[in-house]
């Protein structure tokens, strides 16, 4: 019956055809040519493809080889190449050449030279920042690496701050990010494969995994998923995340997003898979479990007791941020007998002049808090703190004095807002904030009964979630052999197993001798 309904619903939503011209195909057809014997033809062709000279940063340098007097043309895009390299290693040696028989490979002094036979290769090389050389009387071109894309240098991590441990963060250049990871794993089995994921902008994704640790099926699954994307452009990992996740409407994220190379590395060493991309100062870690969103790298850098203390505080904060407002509503409206008599009188006294029900009061303040938060994020930097002070202090104070809300509500909402900041992961943070509102509504409707109902539904939902085949709450439930790093962590020496839910090729992280 449901299938029929679904079908009916699906048919109604039939896509309207979009009238369009396939410019991509025509763009591709101009490139499907081989390189001509005539250098004039080649130059003309490249000029046409790149719209030279309208395209200002496309450069052409024509010259003759010193000894043989053959004509040479060098094409490159000046904004993404290192012009110095081209001058010193290519143009200079060509002009100064003394031997008439010398081939181009003997003349040019760069780290490598690639032989190109079609226009498609020429275009691709130029687009990635390489310079291309055409020589008179040859049916092939040559490319040498001199790419130099501009970007930020390695800086401190801003969103995932730690007290102890490395401070550097990923940057927008994938080469730098890869080097940050290779700096930590000096192993030839660390694979960095690339997949081109978009048809127009040709964005490349680096898939990182350790070959003799990561599960092959998982790697293949992710590679296939990336290869099957049929999109014009995916600029960065934040967008890619939404293309590859399994449940776009789910409240809970299924891919972990980290800007810390040390964190990415420790996941790689456990058998996870990392995705890196140009233009993304971060990495995607998959598969992800609930616990990976809950943890921070600090938990392991701090000593056993301190790290677990931090975890304990965070777990408590998570509980408070979700439940405190809802509990306040439920207890004051449905279960007032729970509160000790003195406190009850105090609450009632402070609410004497307030005309609204508790539910409305809490909702008002929670929304105000979210407003301050969102506004504080968007205001220009110098004004940020002012907005915070104006919003939090003055607004709250004035609201109490105007008898719109009672002072105890301010305490409750401030507590629930403050504690929400302990979860550093952006996605989980958002999820918790939204869930808080649902709990507020369920508490307003049915008191503790409503809250418990929604809580149990949430638990059922969480236990049925999967991220790339890995249960969301693994290894706690369903149980898997693992190092037991869930709410609390173990002493580092005893964390000697890789997580079983990844089905890694080698379960043991440390030999028995190291443990004893």
């Amino acid at each position: 019956m449901f299938k029929v309904l679904k079908k009916l619903a699906g048919k109604k939503r039939n896509k309207r055809p979009v009238g369009s011209e396939d410019t991509l195909a025509s763009q591709a057809s101009t490139k499907d040519q081989s390189i001509s014997y005539q250098i004039e033809d080649n130059i003309k062709q490249v000029k046409k493809i790149f719209h030279y000279p309208d395209n200002k940063d496309i450069k052409l340098r024509e010259c003759k080889i010193g000894a043989s007097e053959k004509r040479v043309a060098i094409f490159f895009i000046s904004t993404i190449t290192d012009v110095r390299t081209i001058e010193d290693s290519a143009i200079g040696p060509i002009l100064k050449n003394k031997h008439p028989d010398a081939t181009i490979k003997e003349m040019i002094a760069t780290q490598n030279i690639t032989h190109l036979s079609t226009m498609r290769d020429v275009v691709q090389n130029m687009n990635t920042g390489n310079a291309v050389i055409f020589i008179e009387g040859e049916t092939s071109a040559y490319a040498f690496e001199c790419a130099n894309f501009q970007g930020r240098s390695v800086e401190k991590a801003e969103n995932e701050v730690v007290i102890k441990g490395p401070k550097e963060a990923f940057t927008e250049k994938v080469v730098v990010n890869l080097s940050l990871i290779r700096k930590r794993i000096k192993n030839e089995d660390l694979m960095a494969e690339t997949v081109t994921i978009s048809t127009r902008s040709k964005n490349e994704v680096f898939i990182l995994y350790i070959r003799n640790l990561a599960n092959e099926k998982l790697v293949d699954n992710i590679k296939n998923r990336l290869k099957n994307l049929d999109v014009d452009a995916i600029q960065n990992l934040s967008l890619l995340e939404q293309y590859i996740e399994e449940r776009p409407f789910s409240m809970f994220p299924s891919v972990l997003y980290s800007e810390r190379p040390d964190r990415a590395t420790s996941f790689l060493e456990d058998g996870h898979i990392i995705l890196l991309m140009d233009n993304s100062p971060d990495s995607l870690i998959l598969p992800a479990t609930f616990w990976s969103f809950f943890h921070t790298s600090d938990d392991h850098y701090l000593r056993f007791i301190f790290g677990n203390f931090a975890r304990f505080i965070r777990a408590g904060a998570m509980f408070i941020t979700i439940f405190i407002s809802a509990i306040f509503i439920a207890v004051t409206t449905y279960h007032s007998e729970m509160i000790p008599a003195d406190l009850l009188l105090a609450i009632a006294g402070s609410r004497e002049k307030v005309p609204f029900p508790v539910f409305f009061e809490i909702l008002l303040m929670e929304i105000a808090f979210e407003l301050i938060r969102e506004a504080g994020l968007r205001v220009p930097n110098p004004m940020g703190p002012t907005i915070g002070i104006v919003g939090a202090l003055i607004l709250g104070q004035a609201a109490v004095e105007a008898n719109i809300i009672s002072p105890i509500v301010i305490i409750v909402v401030a507590l629930s807002g403050l504690t929400s900041f302990t979860i550093s992961d952006v996605s989980l943070n958002f999820a918790l904030r939204i869930i808080r509102f649902i709990f507020i509504f369920s508490a307003g409707l049915f008191g503790i009964f409503g809250m418990t109902s929604f809580f149990v539904m949430g638990i059922f939902y969480l236990t049925s979630l999967k991220s790339f085949g890995v249960p969301f709450l693994a290894p706690m439930s369903p149980h898997y052999v693992a190092s037991g790093d869930t709410i609390f962590r173990r002493v580092l020496k005893n964390e000697n197993l890789r997580p079983g839910y990844l089905k890694p090729k080698d379960m043991k992280k440390k030999s028995d001798e190291a443990v004893k």
Binding site: M338, P340, F446, F449, S453, F455, T463, P478
Partner: protein
């Protein structure tokens, strides 16, 4: 890896049993025992446990030779198509009626003890929606949820019982034999079906990762549950004495009403969410069992889609009886009365049929 798709491990399985059977202390089951066995209800409980062990062991023996079949498939195999289907249908009917009764008991508890002004219908709908959602998520989800919450639920129950114990008077359990051995024996016989859930557990037997774990989990969970219920029965008696416990409908809830911890004088709403979580998981599981059995009998493969239909039926049946406080115990007792002999006889019958058909011999030959 050990974890197979669609199967549950021993932890999840045990957690399910501990929650479903363990939460019987918190509904009206103790009252049914106190009614006839008075203050020695706990002795009759031990008797029930001993007697229940017989059908459970027979069941395990039967399941040991049919490891990939669930209860309905075994029924078909042992009794033939007609009889097998009839038996399964009877079991389904009884299971379904007790599901309806149990849910209305719980809604009655919530409505009469905590939410006196909320309409019963609203409570019932919300509860069934949650359970339906759980049942639709499947056994893995129910098992995981049970395991995740088990510790906290049992810890709070334990806490409540400990506090109740300190308030009680140990002398109230005397005279030890209460109304006399005959009454105790009668209670034992007629309330045997408290553990009839173990018979229904056969429906998910092939979903437990291995038979070894199924057997181990069943027996361990049985032992723990027996200790838990017996302890609770003793504690209720020493807190209220037998004259008042007979008239209390829901002793567990009266107990937590009675308690005060430190500066908190009314703690019942603190125990309420934990008890509710247990109830939700319990009924999700029951609903899953009922729907699975129904799907098995009528050969409906995508039985999850039946859940909404069942919810509506349960809702209509559940709100039908007027004056819940008086009708429910009567109906409950009736169902228990029918189930008790069946629970005892059916497993033995199954074992007998398996013996006649030579299933055990074949198994022995295969293992050689």
């Amino acid at each position: 890896m050990k974890q197979n798709e669609g199967k549950i491990g021993i932890r999840d399985y045990m957690a399910i049993i501990l929650l479903t059977l363990g939460s019987k202390v918190s509904d009206d089951t103790p009252t049914l025992l106190y009614k006839t066995a008075k203050n020695s209800a706990w002795i009759s409980m031990l008797g029930i446990a001993l007697l229940s062990l017989i059908p459970i062991l027979f069941l395990l023996k039967v399941f040991s030779v049919h490891r990939n079949k669930n209860l309905h498939e075994i029924n078909l195999h042992l009794f033939g198509k007609v009889m097998g289907n009839l038996i399964s249908m009877g079991v389904l009917l009884l299971g379904f009626s007790s599901f309806v009764l149990d849910t209305s008991v719980y809604v009655d508890i919530i409505g009469s003890m905590y939410f006196t002004r909320t309409p019963t219908l609203a409570l019932y709908i919300l509860m069934l929606v949650v359970c339906g959602y759980g049942a639709k998520r499947g056994i893995e989800s129910i098992g995981s949820a049970a395991w995740l919450t088990l510790f906290y639920l049992k810890a709070t129950l334990f806490l409540a019982l400990i506090f109740a114990f300190t308030k009680g008077n140990l002398k109230f359990i005397f005279p030890l034999w209460g109304p006399g051995t005959l009454e105790i024996a009668k209670t034992t016989g007629s309330k045997l079906s408290i553990f009839a859930d173990f018979y229904f557990l056969g429906i998910i037997a092939p979903l437990v990762s291995s038979f070894k774990e199924f057997r181990k989990g069943t027996l361990w969970a049985f032992a723990i549950v027996v200790v838990e219920i017996t302890a609770a029965l003793i504690i209720f008696v020493i807190l209220f004495d037998f004259t008042s416990i007979e008239v209390i409908s829901y002793p567990f809830h009266e107990t937590i009403l009675y308690l005060s911890i430190g500066f908190l004088s009314n703690v019942e709403s603190m125990f309420l969410p934990f008890w509710l979580v247990a109830a939700f998981i319990r009924f999700s599981f029951y609903l899953y069992l009922v729907v699975t059995l129904f799907g098995g009998i009528f050969k409906i493969k995508e039985f999850e889609y039946l859940v909404p239909v069942f919810i509506v039926i349960v809702l209509f049946l559940g709100i039908m009886p007027k004056n819940l406080t008086y009708t429910l115990p009567y109906l409950r007792e009736m169902i228990l009365g029918i189930l008790s002999p069946l629970f005892f006889i059916l497993p033995i019958l199954m074992w007998g049929m398996a013996k006649l058909r030579g299933d055990f011999k074949r198994e022995a030959e295969q293992s050689h």
